[in-house]
């Protein structure tokens, strides 16, 4: 089973249906069935919204999620989910989870904000999450802040929008994608399918 954390941040309908296309046992996890997370072979933390809301709404899940991260089960953090992996964000006052060292900052003033639409990746290093994906593949982004990992080794792929910013990060069993795989048509489902592969 792959668990999708339902913490009131974003479009669960799409991530659930998207995952279902490539995997037969997705399960929504709320505070009511949180103990089921122990049997998950992978976990997805979706996300749309603001940094502080995300941190606060995830609080009831934090203990269980930290345990999952510590147990080597792969966890995929999407969009704002990826941003809270870092230490802090210019968007909010809450402390980030600090699972990947670095900060989250506002997009530069010379581009329209949010960064909204389809953009292509620049692969920086190998990761199973992006198997079969090339620099010519486009993904759907929508965000106003971006992650700046302090260790370049954690950056799997970047994307150009005013600056060259982190699009995909990973560290051990923690994976973050700034784009929305569940909104990125066939290539997005391909990435979800890769994540399923990582989980098995």
């Amino acid at each position: 089973m792959i668990a999708i954390i339902d913490y009131g941040m974003g479009n669960l309908f799409s991530i659930y249906n998207g995952l279902k296309r490539v995997y037969d046992r997705p399960m929504l996890i709320t505070v009511d069935n949180i103990t089921d997370i122990a049997s998950a072979e992978g976990v997805i933390v979706p996300g749309v919204g603001a940094f502080d809301d995300c941190i606060r709404n995830l609080k009831p899940f934090s203990e269980a999620l930290i345990e999952v991260v510590g147990s080597d089960v792969p966890v995929l953090w999407i969009c704002i989910g990826m941003q809270i992996l870092f230490d802090a964000s210019e968007e909010g006052n809450e402390k980030g989870w600090g699972l990947i060292p670095g900060d989250v900052v506002r997009l530069p003033a010379n581009v329209r904000v949010p960064h909204m639409g389809w953009n292509n990746l620049h692969l920086q290093r190998h990761s199973e999450l992006l198997d079969g994906i090339t620099d010519a593949d486009y993904f759907y982004f929508v965000h106003s802040y971006y992650c700046v990992p302090s260790d370049d080794d954690n950056t799997v792929a970047t994307v150009e929008y005013g600056v060259e910013l982190a699009a995909v990060v990973s560290k051990d069993n923690v994976y973050g994608v700034q784009f929305h795989p569940e909104k990125s048509s066939k290539k997005g489902l391909h990435v979800l399918s890769n994540f399923v592969g990582v989980c098995k």
Binding site: F13, N17, N120
Partner: protein, 271 residues
């Protein structure tokens, strides 16, 4: 590099069982175009970047139909979906998001109660809050300090916001309104030229540029698209982030793939 987006718009009549796609000519005459989720799947296959569903017959009973159409589409098509028409309250927005929509578009309700823009942006995020502006040229002879006057090829004019699907006018200056909705938290503007809508004469480039110059959020140009060349022009001569069209795709005059090939050949960056 961020690609320019091509967005087919599905003008939906949710007053019939299951809903159907129609296309208005200058916001009045209506023609039948197809089943919403079938068209959505076809557009996905052709490489559409997003879809906009506009409920042109919005009323209370029909909201269930809208939710059904979005659910059916979102379970099969994995790209951003916007719902417009009939979003009057936060509750309407919530219903659309629960059905699988990623953004809602507000026009009439926002012009009547501008705080709705703040409320949607605060609750669901700016990225989910699109404001539709339907603007019509009002030519003037002399300067008017209360209006943002633009010099166009046809003469000096300001742009008036309309609402109720183009049936009523507000007196509100569209250029000022665009700035205000950005301040209130809108994440995107869908800008329709009432002068061009349904004419197939091309986008109103002067209107589109005037709005793009005044806001820092993405602007979707709409109204008047009849040829791939029109889309090329709106990207070449304005800073629009996306182009929206309905009839040229619905009636299969051009496929989205053909349009994108044409744009690529003409140096426009598309997916």
């Amino acid at each position: 590099m961020l690609a320019k987006r091509i967005i087919p718009c599905l003008d939906c009549d949710f007053g019939v069982p299951g809903g159907r796609v129609v296309k208005g000519i200058e916001f009045k005459q209506i023609r039948y175009a197809g089943i919403p989720w079938d068209l959505a799947a076809e557009y996905d296959e052709q490489g559409a970047d997003e879809l906009v569903f506009l409920d042109i017959t919005a009323s209370h009973e029909r909201r269930e139909t809208m939710a059904h159409v979005i659910e059916k589409t979102a379970s099969n098509v994995f790209m951003p979906l916007t719902v417009g028409g009939g979003i009057h309250r936060l509750e309407d927005a919530r219903r659309a998001f629960n059905a699988g929509a990623d953004k809602v578009s507000v026009n009439t309700a926002a012009l009547k109660n501008s705080k709705l823009v703040n409320d949607i942006a605060r609750r669901f995020g700016s990225q989910a809050c699109m404001v539709a502006i339907d603007a019509k040229r009002r030519y003037v002879r002399s300067e008017d300090a209360a209006r943002e006057i633009i010099e166009t090829k046809e003469g000096k004019c300001w742009f008036e916001c309309s609402f109720y699907g183009g049936r009523k006018f507000t007196g509100v200056d569209a250029l000022k309104w665009a700035i205000e909705v950005e301040e209130r938290g809108a994440g995107e503007i869908m800008l329709t030229s009432m002068d061009r809508d349904g004419t197939k004469d091309g986008f109103d480039l002067e209107l589109t540029s005037a709005i793009c110059d005044r806001v820092n959020i993405p602007v979707i140009a709409s109204g008047g698209c009849g040829l791939p060349e029109h889309i090329k022009d709106v990207f070449k001569f304005t800073d629009a982030s996306a182009a929206l069209a309905a009839s040229i795709f619905h009636y299969k005059e051009y496929t989205i793939r053909e349009v994108k090939q044409y744009l690529k050949a003409n140096g426009i960056h598309v997916r």
